[in-house]
Point group: none
Chain length 231, copies 4
């Protein structure tokens, strides 16, 4: 790749990063091209040489972070069920609760009404793809007779809803009070336990294993009272 082209790509990335920051901080309308240009350390006309307009920049910007979220999880499916769910849950949580991803999510939700394609595109390329991985995982575990259910999609959705819906909702509504990792752990660990209790073929065994993992994970001590159904 030529020096020129490299430089151009690098600047394009700089613009996209600046755009993410500015859009996320101000919302679509309040994010002015001037602000973005300034944040990217260049002038407006230069900005316009890289992207033909605000909408284009916005949509282009939304395609950047997806990748990082995509390969969130590919595990060794022979490991203990609790271990895999634990890893999966944290991989997801650590992505989804990152401040920049939360900002982006707020932005997309806020503009979904007027940019319907964007919301759909994001949903399809982000959460939906992750869900597919989760569904595949669920089916594999059912095949291995570790989980029991009829509808793998519902199983996957239930897992998600149990571990992350509460902290994520709070985070979406209260940017200043995004739950810290300890607070998230409370929901995540509880969610895994409840999921195992409802879905596992051998809940007691898996929950015991989970408890060990949690103790390990909480070496740095959370005050959480432990997952809910201690059975």
């Amino acid at each position: 790749m030529s020096r020129r082209a490299q430089n151009r790509l690098e600047k394009e990335r700089r613009i996209l990063e600046a755009a993410l920051r500015v859009f996320a901080d101000h919302g679509y309308r309040a994010a002015t091209m001037d602000l973005i240009a300034e944040a990217a350390n260049l002038t407006k006309p230069t900005l316009y040489q890289y992207f033909p307009g605000k909408d284009a920049l916005f949509t282009a910007m939304l395609n950047v972070p997806r990748e990082r979220m995509l390969d969130a999880f590919e595990g060794d499916t022979t490991r203990p069920l609790a271990d895999q769910l634990h890893d999966f849950a944290w991989a997801y949580a650590d992505t989804v609760m990152r401040p920049d991803f939360l900002s982006l999510a707020r932005l997309i939700i806020g503009e979904a009404q007027r940019f319907p394609e964007i919301g759909t595109a994001y949903q399809v390329s982000g959460p939906d793809r992750l869900l597919d991985g989760l569904i595949a995982f669920m089916e594999a575990q059912r095949g291995a007779e570790r989980l029991r259910f009829d509808d793998p999609e519902l199983a996957a959705q239930d897992f998600w809803g149990l571990i992350l819906s509460a902290p994520r909702n709070k985070a979406l509504y209260e940017p200043d009070a995004v739950p810290d990792r300890a607070a998230v752990a409370r929901y995540v660990h509880n969610g895994i336990a409840v999921f195992l209790r409802a879905y596992a073929t051998d809940p007691q065994h898996d929950i015991a294993r989970l408890a060990a993992l949690i103790k390990q994970h909480d070496a740095s001590a959370t005050a959480s009272a432990g997952p809910n159904p201690i059975a």
Copy 2:
């Protein structure tokens, strides 16, 4: 109250309703004072006599809809557990999935970064208050030895996450593809069943009762394959 004051209050309400519509449809920035004035059938200067500015109108507007959502549920706690959960779930679902509430939610989430009080206020006055009711309910059921858990808040959150997180997330991101009642039913009914399986002291009995309720509810036929852990 004098005639004058009454008139004033009524007009204020009209403004707030118009503001809700316009803000929800266009977003904060794209909602112009002109549009709001027109929607309220008055002129801009009059608008400014009722509210000192756009921000003030916005925040004032957000305090209106709370009430409707509040008294969402007050049930007879002696009825069968499955019946109560079923009613609770649908009361919640029917509120939360209404297009206007979804619009409002998108609006608040979208502006949460720049109006942090708003997000918090909404969270506290809306979802949190509902959650309180749910927590109280959970504790009552635990007292009656129908449910078993340590942390009632987690139980409540789990219930919410199981029945509504999936369709609501989709609805937030895709305004054009808000799940219809049948689609919501799939999640809600499954969620209740999974919840009972994980939390009920006598899951089999409650789930059987739930199945009857669902059959009744689905008199008008949903294609849903039934809740997940049919056990």
Copy 3:
């Protein structure tokens, strides 16, 4: 008409006049809305409350001067032929050679390529309508056996071409050297004479009458050498 409406109409006229000045002086692109607003003694947003945009203002402006040009001539067709042609010619010349109409014509011609409707509209509503009057006049004179020809439209065009094409062309190309009334008279008087010579049934009589009119007209002395075919 209410005071308000009257005021509004008057301001609208003020804007249109300012627009004519500014557009004519600078051309379409170089005429900024700021300049027009300033010339009309108001601010840009006010301007936009009267006209929705630059294009609209431009086209609206083009509909104003037409009227003045329309009823340019309605004469007593029983008067001597030379008298009527003389009056007609000067009515036309005095309109068409006015600096503001010349500016407008330059403007329209200059923008005709990108605003094709405008050029057509102007042609139809201005020159073409005048031509219709001239054609009717020619036919009347043919009926009275004072003129002789087959095609009245060609007769009308010939008249126009003879009296005004030369000074008007010069004026269009050289705004700083617009022929003065004396210079125009040279072409107009010559043109009438040549026209009579080619078209009149009794040229000698009509041209003699014309010579008298010219002498009268030139009481204030032009240096013009008289019309061409003194015969």
Copy 4:
């Protein structure tokens, strides 16, 4: 001339041609330096190395096309009068009604107010020079006692006005409805006839000869009803 200099000159010509196209198509303001550079197949900075700015390029461009129009007519003055007028008229018409010359004329007229030298220069170098040829021709014919008049300039202008003012005016105002050759022929042939009728010493003879020429010219059939004063 060195290879270098030759190359430079050739590129300069390419730029000027591109400029003519772009200016004529878009008008002065809407013709961007980018467009011109692209049309000339080079980059903007190179453009600026040949011409110091837009204005300079514009004025330079206007000095190019003159020559083509110059040598429009040099005839054998001993041929029949009608033949010579016919040839002259068509040579002029075919030049003046060419789409590119019309575009250029519109451009110059449109910018005449802000570039006064341009209009004058064009007038002097284009039409005026042609007029000089025409005047000389008229004088020669007067010397040969074929035409009769006092003022040769007026005679020349009358000829021009009779044959071309109508179609050219229409063409200037309506780029989308430029008269085709048949439509122009109607005016041209009529104009020559009228001119002969007013100016020729032996009109009948010349008009008869003209009629033959027209029949020949219209081998491909025009629907025109013939020139006006068939006498």
